[in-house]
Assembly symmetry: C2
Homo-oligomer: 434 residues x 2
Amino acid sequence: EEDEEENFIKNNYIARTLLNEPELPPITWLNWYKEVNWPQATLLCLEPLVALYGLFTTSFMWQTIIFTIIWYFLTGFGITAGYHRLFSHRSYEAKLPLRYFLLILGAGSVQGSAQWWSRGHRAHHRYTDTDLDPYSAHKGIFYSHIGWLLFKPRRKPGLVDISDLTNDKCIQWQHRNYISLAFFMAFVFPTLVCGLGWNDYRGGYFFAGVLRLVFVHHSTFCVNSLAHYLGDAPYDDRRTPRDHFFTALVTLGEGYHNFHHEFPSDYRNALKWFQYDPTKYLIEFFKLIKLANNLKEFPKNEIRKGRYTMAHKELNRFGQTIIWPKDNLNLPIITFEEYQELTKKNDNRLLILIAGFIHDVSHFIDSHPGGRTIIKSYIGKDATVAFYGGIHDHNTAAHNILAMMRVAICKYGGEVEYIKKRLGHIQTPTPIFA
Amino acid sequence: EEDEEENFIKNNYIARTLLNEPELPPITWLNWYKEVNWPQATLLCLEPLVALYGLFTTSFMWQTIIFTIIWYFLTGFGITAGYHRLFSHRSYEAKLPLRYFLLILGAGSVQGSAQWWSRGHRAHHRYTDTDLDPYSAHKGIFYSHIGWLLFKPRRKPGLVDISDLTNDKCIQWQHRNYISLAFFMAFVFPTLVCGLGWNDYRGGYFFAGVLRLVFVHHSTFCVNSLAHYLGDAPYDDRRTPRDHFFTALVTLGEGYHNFHHEFPSDYRNALKWFQYDPTKYLIEFFKLIKLANNLKEFPKNEIRKGRYTMAHKELNRFGQTIIWPKDNLNLPIITFEEYQELTKKNDNRLLILIAGFIHDVSHFIDSHPGGRTIIKSYIGKDATVAFYGGIHDHNTAAHNILAMMRVAICKYGGEVEYIKKRLGHIQTPTPIFA
Ligand code: HEM
Ligand code: HEM
Ligand SMILES: [Fe+2]
Ligand SMILES: [Fe+2]
Ligand SMILES: [Fe+2]
Ligand SMILES: [Fe+2]
């Protein structure tokens, strides 16, 4: 057994790595301030405060409000259509202009460079729910939402291959210029648009800049927190990812996360027309205007297998809440004559023979839809033919109810005199020496 | 075989009866006027015309409109809670005053006496979809809706037991006085209420009397027509009854007809809170005011069995739309060395050994979420450990996709030199005479 354990660890990258690589000590009330990632924590805690201050001190201009919403969607799509579906998952191919466009917008979401983001995200997919997953759902909803950014990670995220990204010029350009790009797109650009456009520099900064950033941040964070807690698992339930409309609504369509983890390089997150996945439509639009191609889809057949398997699991769980007929092997076997004898005893047990089984209908007879009398007249007789259409061709429910009342098996299945006679004949040993 | 056929007919009441009892000839363009049930046909065809005439010649009073709706519900409940669930199905017990109340209201729906109605309805349940069912759905939606009333029935409906009804004083009283009761409740009473109440005799007659009757009639008829065509079969699909919200809406809750045929003596037609079954609530109200008791319910466990079985059927149908891996028995068996040889040939077939099977990944490799290179490096080797967590612990979808690409079985399951050596040793025959 120890051998087996050892063998497993040797052959399992995750087990091996967790065992051999160092881990920082847990965060406690004594050491927490040393473990905080101060630059990130400051940014993430300050931005909602600045946004609140802006909300209370700045007057609203409808143009700014509209631009804020647009800018929320655009920088958000930079993450969902760009960082996530294009760069992390290669779920489609994009022409150069589109790649730059998405990288620049993505920078405006201030979530690190596409290379850094994808490196972590690939580890999240490859090591989902383990300690090599940088935002493992098993560490709690707070940690997977924002905690992993506020504190220094306890471990290096698991090994992943990002050679495609390190060899990509656009990605490298964005990686090198990330800080200035992010600062410009997140704050300078929206301030300028609102300022030069309708002279609302202040609104541009506070609303389209900071407030919008708060929403974009927590929207993306929800994919790591909510999407691993809320909803159901229609494709696979081995791990935590879940599908939910609400998560989709607040994440530009990334909320069908059970599907996404099962089929990560599919450019879609939602398959059904009634599910909300604007990022999918955007990618289809990119294709329409010839900026994207080779949109990847997992084969329908394999997607159905997931649905089928999960539906089967659920149905089996439902089946286990049902009481099924008792095991026939434990029923006593009695002869037809013994059965008749039993029904003559005056002990209020009403026995009826149907299809080889003897049933105790004492508790059922009064609720029989066909009435008490008709069953009563068959007590002690073989009611098989009557039950199967001789008198009434019973529905499926009747057969189910009947099976619940089995108390014995009737030898030879019933009153079959001619079979018994034949058997008797055969069983009489033919004398060898007459 | 002929013997079997004969035996079946002898032992099946329906088959026997259909064979032995006379049937009227089919209705044709030549004989139809002789086959019409003139009194019923006249009533049923005239009433919508009279209602229309009334609609165009009578002014509306809101009191009359309200009373018409109330009278529609009351006389309708006379049928659903009275004729149907109480008298035909004995799904609850009712005190004398309630029995009279329901019988009087039911008469106002002009659908025959409760005894006549229940006799036909019991035959409908016992012989559903056969020619002994007076309004068999297999005779078409027109026939089951109203045709069976317009023409003389082609056969006597199948035998049923109505001794409980013929022994019931209330039922017999209503049966004897049916014509006058019906006339009074359908036309005189609503005319008087509206006339004496707010001096709208004309509206009372045309709206609360005739128009309301048209609606009550076709509402009941829909239970025999629509409810056997429209909707799904969540409890059993051996026969035509179906569940549908729309049918329920137009029939005071009798539209969950698949449930009802499966569990006919249940006082409910609908189980779920979101389903529309006002008749059920009315019966529960009767119980509350102590006019009804012993409300019958089929055991939840047996109801679940129906749902379970049908869900299983549907899931199996879904499973049959899926392409599953090929039968392993037909795969060729090759040795590990042969496998390696094959991968060296330059015929663009990329073969990879995982878990004892050799897979052709030529068409898959470019869409591998983990990239082309990593798979490429395992061509011609045993990738079992890598695929099962040595490098990446693949998700369920990956296992499903993998199984679709099997092209051969690897002898001994893979490169297991020490097993091969051992087997070689054992297989060397020990000489018997040395
Ligand atoms: C002892 C086990 C029995 C069970 C569990 C049972 C159950 C049922 C059930 C659930 C129904 C309503 C559903 C349907 O119409 O198929 C029914 C109806 C009926 N049963 Fe049975 N039954 C039993 C025995 C019998 C026997 C032995 C007879 C006749 C000899 C019989 C005669 C009828 C008739 C005539 C009806 C139709 C009632 C009507 O719709 O008016 N039943 N039974
Ligand atoms: C030949 C059959 C193979 C199939 C059908 C297959 C299928 C898949 C699928 C569906 C995924 C995405 C889902 C998931 O993350 O589990 C995936 C990911 C991955 N596969 Fe495979 N795979 C195969 C072979 C291999 C082999 C032989 C290796 C390594 C030696 C490998 C390494 C990986 C890695 C590292 C990932 C994670 C990619 C990421 O999330 O960045 N695969 N594979
Ligand atoms: Fe995730
Ligand atoms: Fe992802
Ligand atoms: Fe029916
Ligand atoms: Fe019924």
